[in-house]
Amino acid sequence: MTTLKETSIGSTVKVKKVNGEGNLKRHIMDMGITKGVEIYVRKVAPLGDPVEITVRGYELSLRKEYAEMIEVE
């Protein structure tokens, strides 16, 4: 299982599934990270966390602990 956390910077991946539950999963999905959407990993913050991604045409930053919940192809 590959997650968004392991995805290298500069690559584009497709979301397979969002794991986790409740509020957190809901929040991630509300922001547009849903099944089948393409995510481009733009960069990582100067201190190594969080990461910045492009999803549905806008920039989103999320901590690596949440990126780990996002299963990608």
């Binding site: 809901r26 999905m29 966390d49 806008y58 930053s61």
Partner: protein, 720 residues
Amino acid sequence: MSFTIALAGNPNCGKTTLFNALTGASQRVGNWPGVTIDKKVGKIKGTDSELVDLPGIYSLSPYSPEEIVSRNYIVNDNPDGIINIVDATNLERNLFLTLQIIDMGKPVVIALNMMDEVEKQGDKIDAEKLSARLGVPVIPISAKEKRNIDKLVSAITDAAEKKTEPKYVRYNDSIEAAVDAAEKALEGKIPGSPRFYAFKLVEGDDAVMQAVPGARESISEAINNLEKEFDDTADSVITDSRYETITDIVSSAYERAPRDERGTLSDRVDRIVTNRILGLPIFILIIGFVYFVAMYDGDLGTSPGAWATGWLNDFISETVIPAAQEWCESAGVSEALTGLLCDGILSGVGAVIGFLPQMIVLFICLVILEEVGYMARVAFVMDRIFRYFNLSGKSFIPLIVSTGCGVPGVMATRTIESESDRRITAMTCTFMPCGAKLPVISAIAGALAGSVWVAVFAYVMGIVLVIISGIIIKKFHAVSGAPAPFIMELPPYHMPGFVTCAKTVFDRSWAFVKKAGTIILLAMILVWFLKSFSWSFTLLSEEEMGDSILASIGGVLSYLFMPLGWGDSWELPAASITGLIAKEDLIGTLELLIAAPFDMDVSEALDLLGTKMAGAAGHAMILSFFTFNMFCAPCFAAVGAIHRELGTWKATGFAFLYQCLLAYFVAVIVFVVSAAVMGAMSDVPWYSIMFAIIDAVILVYFLVVKDPFKPFRKNTEVAE
């Protein structure tokens, strides 16, 4: 006709600009009931209709206070129509909220904002096709250029007049089957739109399930089918399906021009600003620049902010107060009233208002950084560090601002979305030594043989206490509020609009002035009364302050402070109380009480008092006095700001007590440890050592133990 129209949309979609364009100057700012989220209401220009600005939200789930406020407003207050503002450059995510709003069944008009930017990129949007697919009118606008605002107004007025119900967007059969079942289960049991709540029931929304108990169980078959078919939870299936529909709608109506390979200007700026190597230095430069413009006053000159505040302070103390005094004398006002007016109200409130120019400069800098989009990047850059303390990168700005003044520092916590982080930051950012604490630092440094380490100690200790508190307060679930994950949009950089910035600066400054006129005024009058009157209610001169009510309160309090090594001195507790008016008053009071009568300066007097009260441990006692006053509750102005942010007196009281207790604990420990380092343990009373050990144990307990309240909770075993 006059209607009530709600304005809803995502954060960063130009909602404030549109609100200003629609309402002009006719705005009233208040609070939503029960939460400290600003509620803005204004009259739509050229009509009798009222526009209610809902908080910026991404969704209508009931997880954040903003979402709950918006949802409740639309359901309970029943507006005649909703303008849903949508950022056309970020259509997919913005339409997610739109689909939920449409389901609420009210007349909706979509304001497709930022069309100027879309055109600049060479893209085309077919608004009619969009409108046909969404089942509601879509008006392409530009709030910034005020384009098509009149069309938007007539469209919403028309929809409100005709009570046009949207044509709902349909999803796949399994979802619709579950929603149908839910609609039947909810029929007649819940006010407002059946379809919206039907969706929420299928999603397992707590608010709906509590409102209609048993409803979700009754449709469990349809939900089971849905979840089995898509192999996911019902709410995820619905979100997936909504976004799928959106992707489909957008691809049919949005024509995208080829992009510049180097990326947009915003991309290029961002590549440098949050660069792995340059990111931190650039951040330090920007913060340094803001600090220099708003606060700095030293060898390199005086910043505009410090200059203006200095000028206003001088004006109040040298012109306004003498003028008032003269007027009182010539009008024959009694001595007590003159004292109350000049000494109590004018100098007290004046000391607070004096900060206003500095604060305006600071607010201008912060608003520009916010509007440009840099604040989100600050959080992005700093988040890694703050995670260690259970906070997020967004808490950094208030801490920096608090080194100038705690009041705008506390107010700067507004930009933190996570309720829990926001409250904790508001409660702790005044630990940072502010401008008013600087005179205290230099006086103490003087008493401790000019040690520069006093200043270093103050800043380092301030940061340490913020860190400790981040960890401790999170464990008080009742006050810390609901946590929110750190998932944050990084909006594109753009030029800030003048009107929007000016309005925000004005609103924040006005909130500050209003506070100075109410709570601070009352506090000032009280303390003035305590220090100017004896128990027999005779007015005292400044030299007779030893007979004042304040002095006797200080005398009683001195027992409380004995473990800190303050001996039986009533002056030190009394000075600490006046420090609540303004921290620099601490030095003023000490001057009056222990220095001036003996022809000494405060540093010498403190040194002497220290030796008298604690013998060889005198310097340790001065350090404990310093520690307590640096970190106990801040001045009333800042307490007022904290109250505004926390919303309830209970939470404010908790913050006040927490700060004082923590300062007390740390001061005792500092007293004993520093006495030990100075080799003066023989003059440290036994109870101080005992207190220090107990306090250290309590602190460590709260820091280390995951659930510190578990042993105290009743019936734990029964519940388990």
